[in-house]
Amino acid sequence: MSDDVYIVGIDMIRFGRFPEKSVPKLGAEAARLALDDAGVTIHDVESLYSGNLMQAGAMVGQRILQEIGQTGIPVTNCANACATGATAFRGGWMAIKAGIYDLVLVVGVEQLGKMGLLGGGGGGGGIPKEGLLGSGIMPAVFGEAGMEHARKYGTTFEQFAKVSVKNHHHSTMNPKSMYRKETPLEMVMNAEMIAYPNTKLMCSVNVDGAAAAVLASEKKARELGLSRAVKVSASVLTSDPFTERDLVMPDVNTCTRRAAAQAYEMAGLGADDLDLVELHDCFATAEILHYENLGLCKDGEAGRLIDEGETALGGRIPVNVSGGLLSKGHPLGATGVANMYEVSTHLRGEAGDRQVQGARVGLTHVIGLGSACAIHVLEKAA
């Protein structure tokens, strides 16, 4: 194994709605913040990995460079559904791991505005299938995934709703979150039902956002100083292997379980060693599944975990202290990098009111439906 790769700079813009700005301008804002955080300039950067989903054909990475310095470096544009940002990050990680570059910039950016329901496009000619052959909208797809857990273990609507209460509470302490409001249990459960068991407050928020990271080889990281550096102990990407109900029910579990096993092996640690987790809570139901998929508890214990507050700030293993996709927001291509910003901020001891005390190891997880799963394990370097 070659030398480790380090995050030497990382930041994000506050997620929100910025109709007056373009995708490259949002990406450039995050890029400048990350470069400043690393104490380097665009002239030090040897390659750019750019993640964006909705303008995947529009050379977003090059257009970001037009905003921050067109140095002629190689640019790789990347789209991988909601795993887009993490996949771009992994591209940069691999390039450094391979010894090709010493300093790489990664940007994840998305402009969703108030885009409504995602998914369910169907296609294939004829008449629309939505509402005739079930539903392809994301709240329903993840509703069904949650009901699979309910079927196996008796997980309740209330337990799913508690995820949303927790993550909204966490977001009140995060100045970069889209929403920062408490949502008590009755409010979550009585919110407009979108697709049972997911109410409106149990669905992630479509927002605009950008996050960026500067990755460095071990040599370069030592040169820049390790005091705030974050070691990338594992970077894993999986796709979904064929499973029994694959054709009608996207499987977000198997690819996550496989990625988690690989990530723990690569990092040489286990779920018990984690101090915090940022996982893909695109819907409240999804977070429950991933407690077990990531090994934060045994199969069938996820409901107890949320009931007993083990995944809340101050609990045994805090999950989504940023507010998660449910409240911080889910700008698809930016989400994966923003998760790493959150974990890095805790490892650096700079998370303010929401700081997980003594955090040394954290895990980030995203799922792109279709499916892709990316997991990264990050560790305090010094």
């Binding site: 329901l117 369910g120 294939g124 004829g126 008449i127 629309p128 299938k129 939505e130 509402g131 005739l132 052959l133 079930g134 539903s135 909208i137 709240p139 329903a140 797809v141 509703g143 069904e144 995934a145 009901m147 699979e148 309910a150 079927r151 609507f157 407009e192 039902m193 979108i194 697709a195 049972y196 068991p197 997911n198 064929f242 029994e244 109900r245 694959d246 054709l247 009608v248 029910m249």
Partner: protein, 142 residues
């Protein structure tokens, strides 16, 4: 083209709904002779085991049980809500998704594991050219 042959009657909403010239409509899967995996629609290679040329058409059962569901209250404009989006495991193999009808769209009423059957009806919408489509639904089975 199958569409032209069936031009006098409704068209199938999906290619895996088959409308024979005589006899009842049915759902068709392709089953891998090597590993037994089921697929909806034709394919050359089994995506479960990777074997090519070993997929055979099989008629799916009209009886099954409700695996999981979601009750959809908000969907795209023009889609009638609420409705029950259901994933159904069919007897003998194969899983299909569709609307579960003839039941209250209420989590107190819809029960995972309940026996259901596949029924075939003309879809309430036509395409731009005015063609009718045959679709399938699930309904509770006693």
């Amino acid at each position: 083209m199958a569409e032209e042959a069936a031009a006098s009657g409704p068209r199938p909403i999906v290619p895996y709904l088959k409308i024979p010239e005589s006899g009842d409509p049915y759902l068709e899967a392709h089953k891998c002779r090597q590993c037994g995996a089921f697929f909806l629609g034709e394919r050359e290679t089994c995506s479960s085991c990777g074997t090519s040329g070993e997929l055979e058409a099989v008629k799916l059962s009209n009886r099954g049980e409700l695996y999981v569901y979601s009750i959809v209250h908000r969907s795209f404009p023009g889609v009638q809500v609420p409705f029950v989006s259901a994933v159904v495991d069919l007897e003998g193999g194969g899983t299909v998704k569709g609307n579960l009808i003839n039941i209250d769209p209420d989590p107190e009423k819809v029960r995972m594991g309940m026996p259901v059957e596949v029924i075939y009806q003309i879809a309430p919408t036509k395409d731009r050219e005015g063609n009718e489509y045959l679709t399938y639904y699930f309904q509770p089975r006693s």
